[in-house]
């Protein structure tokens, strides 16, 4: 496989380059929409109008009313607020949270912290998943049935392995006991149809090619949800967070761009992920992780036995590929991915691709084909570095 100096293949769109049209919108809005939308003078009124347009687009995309949409400083912040508001509104019932073991750390870390602070393990229950990453619904039913349970959190789909959760059934189980279901859709919004089974929904504009720093929350009027502390300013949605208007506008533009091509984009991404899964499966002792069919179109991950994940990331990087890994020592932590561990998957030698939208990355097809061609050689080389090729 030849080196392509300067030709980078970005296959880690968890944090994504922006859609080019959204980028233009952002640049224009920096000039036109800089003002505080709460100001009464002309520039403020212009910013307000632009923000209202953004809210309308995003609310329609999530199939809620504009008054039901609000913002947060990031996707993880939106998820955290979503849980906090559900717990706070239900505080007379208790303070126990149920979550799947593969939720984002924005759910797991505060949940564990609350239980530790409260000195009571029962305040946070982590429900196991099967080998494909799907939540064990029997265990979930049992967990939400425990007295004092106040809210449950189940992601729409996992951002590391792509597996889609059985949300409709989880929502039924929550409704049967009268607790709200918080759904983290950070990995899926704009890539597949927005989920309909939830009481509070949280997402991140980066999943649809929007800018960083824009978390979104959908809280339907029927949901009992309120944040602790003083009430936010009226007219800014229920989170009370006013986004920087140019960012909100760019997020809305990216949404419209992604929505216009979604079904074709989804089909193409799925086909590319199938190529990666097939290429990975040809390498000895490589396991493709995640549900084979019930998964997001654009995320694929695999683990290679006897391979150092950090060395894999560096070797792919050297060959021009930006890829992520759930192995220990490949992120800010020495711990391996809790998602892979919960699934019983191998955590070392892990590679994770999050495909950018084709409209963001026009050479995506060629990049993935080049990646598939390099994959066996890179895995075998890195395995041989540890003298583990014949184990």
């Amino acid at each position: 496989v030849a080196n392509h100096p300067g030709e980078r293949a970005v296959l880690d769109a968890a944090s994504t380059p922006m859609h080019p049209v959204a980028r233009d919108t952002l640049m224009a809005a920096v000039d036109a929409g800089w003002a505080d939308p709460r100001r009464l003078y002309a520039e403020g009124r212009t910013a307000r109008r632009l923000l209202d347009q953004a809210v309308e687009v995003l609310a329609a995309g999530l199939r809620v009313r504009p008054s039901e949409l609000s913002f947060a400083p990031s996707g993880p912040a939106a998820v955290r607020l979503a849980v906090d508001g559900a717990l706070h509104a239900g505080r007379r019932r208790g303070s126990r949270l149920v979550a799947t073991a593969v939720e984002h750390s924005a759910v797991l870390a505060p949940g564990r912290h609350r239980a530790a602070q409260g000195g009571d393990d029962r305040l946070f229950a982590e429900v196991p998943v099967d080998g494909t990453g799907r939540v064990d619904l029997d265990a979930f039913a049992e967990a939400v049935g425990v007295t004092g349970t106040t809210a449950a959190a189940v992601q729409h789909a996992n951002g590391e392995v792509g597996t889609v959760q059985p949300l409709a059934r989880a929502h039924d189980l929550c409704r049967a006991t009268g607790i709200p279901l918080v759904v983290d859709a950070q990995a899926s919004l704009g890539r597949v149809d927005s989920p309909g089974s939830y009481d509070v929904l949280a997402g991140d504009a980066q999943s649809w090619g929007g800018p960083g720093g824009v978390g979104v929350l959908a809280v339907p009027e029927r949901t009992r949800w309120s944040l602790p502390g003083p009430a936010g300013e009226p007219g800014l949605g229920r989170s009370g967070h006013t986004p920087w208007v140019p960012l909100a506008l760019a997020a809305a533009e990216a949404w419209q761009q992604a929505e216009a091509t979604r079904s074709e984009e989804e089909r193409q991404a799925r086909a590319l992920v199938d190529l990666v899964r097939a290429a990975a499966a040809t390498v000895p002792d490589v396991e493709v992780v995640g549900h084979p069919t019930d998964r997001l179109p654009h995320i694929v991950t695999f683990s290679a036995l006897y391979v150092d994940g950090e060395a894999l990331v560096h070797e792919f990087d050297r060959r021009g590929f930006a890829i992520a890994s759930g192995s220990a020592c490949t992120a800010s932590t020495l711990e391996p991915s809790h998602v892979l561990a919960a699934m019983g998957a191998l955590t070392h030698g892990n590679v994770r691709l999050t495909l950018p939208l084709a409209s963001v990355s026009p050479r995506r097809d060629a990049d993935v084909e080049r990646f598939c061609a390099a994959l066996p050689e890179v895995v075998l080389d890195v395995r041989a570095q540890l003298g583990a090729e014949h184990l």
Partner: protein, 99 residues
């Protein structure tokens, strides 16, 4: 090296012990696989490791290779009379065919 008293039922005695303390993933699993190479099915191997990734990777390796993970125990051992080292002891029984 003296193992501390252990409340849990003792795992079967190991034929050999692999000391991978202080090694980072994937080395503990590689050391375990090297020790398993060419040994008969039924051989019991103990692995000592401090790497947190071994918690997930030793069971995954057993699943992929058809071995049985008999026991996982946290151990405090005293080295040279003073330093206490916390590590995890994994007891594995090799399946057929042991590679």
């Amino acid at each position: 090296v003296t193992p501390a008293p252990n409340q849990a039922p003792a795992p079967p005695p190991a034929t050999l012990t692999v000391d991978a303390r202080g090694l980072r993933c994937p080395l503990p699993v590689i050391r375990l696989a090297q020790a398993a190479g060419g040994r008969a099915a039924g051989t019991v191997i103990a692995l000592w490791a401090t790497d947190p990734a071994a918690r997930a990777d030793v069971p995954a390796w057993c699943r992929m290779r058809g071995h049985d993970l008999l026991d996982v125990t946290e151990l405090d051992v005293t080295v040279n009379g003073d330093d206490e080292v916390v590590h995890t002891a994994y007891t594995v029984r090799l399946g057929e065919p042991a590679r």
